[in-house]
Amino acid sequence: MADLLSIYVHIMAARMRAQLQYRVSFVLQLVGSFSLSFTDFAVVLVIFAHLPYLAGWSLGEVAFLYGTSYMAFQLSDIAVGQLDQLPVLIQSGDFDMVLIRPLGALFQVVTLDFTLRRFGAFGQGALVFALALARTDIHWTAGRVLVLTLMPVWSIPIFASVWVVGATSAFWAVRSMEVINLVTHGGQLLTQYPLQVFGAWIQRLVIFVVPLAFVNYFPSLYVLGKPDPLGAPEFVRFASPVVAIVLVVVAGRIWNFGVRHYRSTGS
């Protein structure tokens, strides 16, 4: 594991050197990433210009969901977003190269590149989160501080696992991935708002099938001390770590299954 980490650091350092060579370009991309992601929050602000509460959540509380969702999603994107390149790798046959190295295939795919510019969008999420902390009156207890600080520990793996499962479909049908990855990108929008906003079928989907509700919604109910209008039992608020572990294991299994069905169609 320590070895893997040192390899990761070396690969990423080499990549960052290459990207930072063009400094102006890098800054512009960072600004672009920040401003494009900010349009999402602008929508929240416009909505709250018309009403004090959205489905019973104040601006600060929605900003809390928004910030935690954005930061987790952008960090997962930085970690595994390269999976979006998998169809290209498979179609060109370059996935062969991944399989002749003494490292896990998944590890190699996600380290193919390192998109520093996504820290722009991450920064936007962090800023909104800071605003949320300033605007909400949270009664801090040890438990709430703990849940908040541990949130990345499950939220990033949950997003990343969904990403992996979506990408695995590319071993069978290259285009299917775009549709399945909708769940990740749609999930980013979905987790920015209180879950009760969405239709019942979406709620069931993200609780039981693609458990994105465990990224930030249930833990936030606990941290913010809000009742759950969906009436889920109390322990659900603390189930996120278990959900994350199960998802990671399942995603790993599915990925390995996919790799064994790789057909190497390139030359």
Binding site: H10, D96, M97, I100, R101, G104, S264
Partner: protein, 331 residues
């Protein structure tokens, strides 16, 4: 000695979906059927440590599919594979330390990084001890003349430089087996010669086992004592290069120069292969006629000025085998 590669009844089937015959338009989109294509159809062979084996066959014959099963890239449909004592598809990661691989048409180097950085990353990835890495790098840089391009990003390298870089990269971790897939494709004569020399030395000095697929038979003539020929998923020949001539090469070519251009000469036991002005090429089979009888028959029909008899080149024989000449007849 125990073989380093052994393959028994190896098969790889691909399910291919295609349009059902006769169905057109929207119906054609829906009425698809799945057929099984046997890319590799029950082959067996073994390779001893230190051998250099050429693996040839026409496009789509199953060469790459075989090699990909030997490396663990593809999972066999059935049959047994052992490489360095391991089952490649089950223990792929462990196996990677024993093998090196070079694809002529793609690179395992990092496109946007200098060659030196790629080598350095490979040192981490394969966990090569620093001293061993230095020795290997120095050796390969010298033998392959990579010194001048070490600090150039890979995307700026010429094909020949990139190929030499890939060769060095595939050997930094001291693999026992090296798979080469079309390593000289598109390279000029000088680079080709350099790479062949390098491979010969590698095999001689380090005892690396080499399995080479190529379209360039001269690669194999220079390097390999043993050749395997695959066609439509079947291994149709496995033996020495020289024995190919005896087995498949019992056809010869009579080249005649006539006094004046003539229509193709019609003689029993020979086929006119080519006509170029007054020169004609007649192919004949040793078992059907002798050279003397054929010359007499030709001389009786046209006026000859000169003639030669050509032994077939290995390359021609191989091309003819690919061309669908029935190998069963020679067997």
């Amino acid at each position: 000695m125990a073989p380093i590669v052994s393959v028994e009844n190896l098969e790889k089937r691909f399910a291919v979906s295609r349009k059902r015959q006769g169905a057109r338009g929207l119906l054609g989109k829906l009425a698809r059927e799945t057929i099984d294509v046997r890319a590799v159809d029950g082959i067996s062979f073994s390779i001893q440590p230190g051998e250099m084996v050429g693996y040839i066959g026409p496009n789509g014959a199953g060469k790459s599919t075989t090699i990909k099963m030997l490396t663990g890239i593809l999972v066999p449909s059935s049959g047994l594979v052992r490489v360095a004592g391991l089952d490649p598809s089950r223990r792929r990661i462990e196996l990677t330390r024993h093998i090196g691989m070079v694809f002529g048409q793609r690179t395992q180097l990092w496109w946007d990084l200098p060659l030196r950085d790629s080598f350095d990353l490979l040192r981490y990835i394969y966990r090569v001890p620093v001293e061993r890495f230095r020795v290997n790098l120095d050796t390969f840089v010298e033998l392959l003349d990579l010194g001048p391009v070490l600090d150039t990003p890979v995307r700026q390298l010429s094909l020949g430089q990139r190929m030499r870089g890939d060769l060095a990269a595939s050997l930094l971790h001291d693999p026992e087996i090296l798979y080469l897939d079309e390593p000289t494709i598109g390279l000029d004569v000088v680079v080709k010669a350099r790479i062949r020399e390098f491979l010969a030395e590698l095999n001689r000095e380090r005892g690396v086992t080499v399995l080479l697929t190529t379209h360039d038979i001269s690669d194999i003539e220079r390097l390999c004592s043993r050749v395997m020929i695959i066609d439509r998923g079947h291994l149709i020949y496995d033996g020495s290069l020289s024995a190919i001539k005896e087995r498949f090469g019992d056809e010869r070519m009579l080249v005649v120069d006539l006094e004046e251009p003539a229509p193709p000469i019609d003689v029993p036991g020979a086929i006119v292969e080519k006509v170029d002005g007054p020169r004609q090429w007649l192919r004949f089979h040793r078992s059907e006629t002798t050279a003397a009888a054929l010359i007499a028959a030709v001389a009786a029909r046209v006026r000859l000025r000169d003639l030669t008899i050509e032994e077939p080149e290995i390359e021609d024989i191989v091309r003819r085998i690919y061309g669908g000449a029935d190998p069963g007849r020679a067997r």
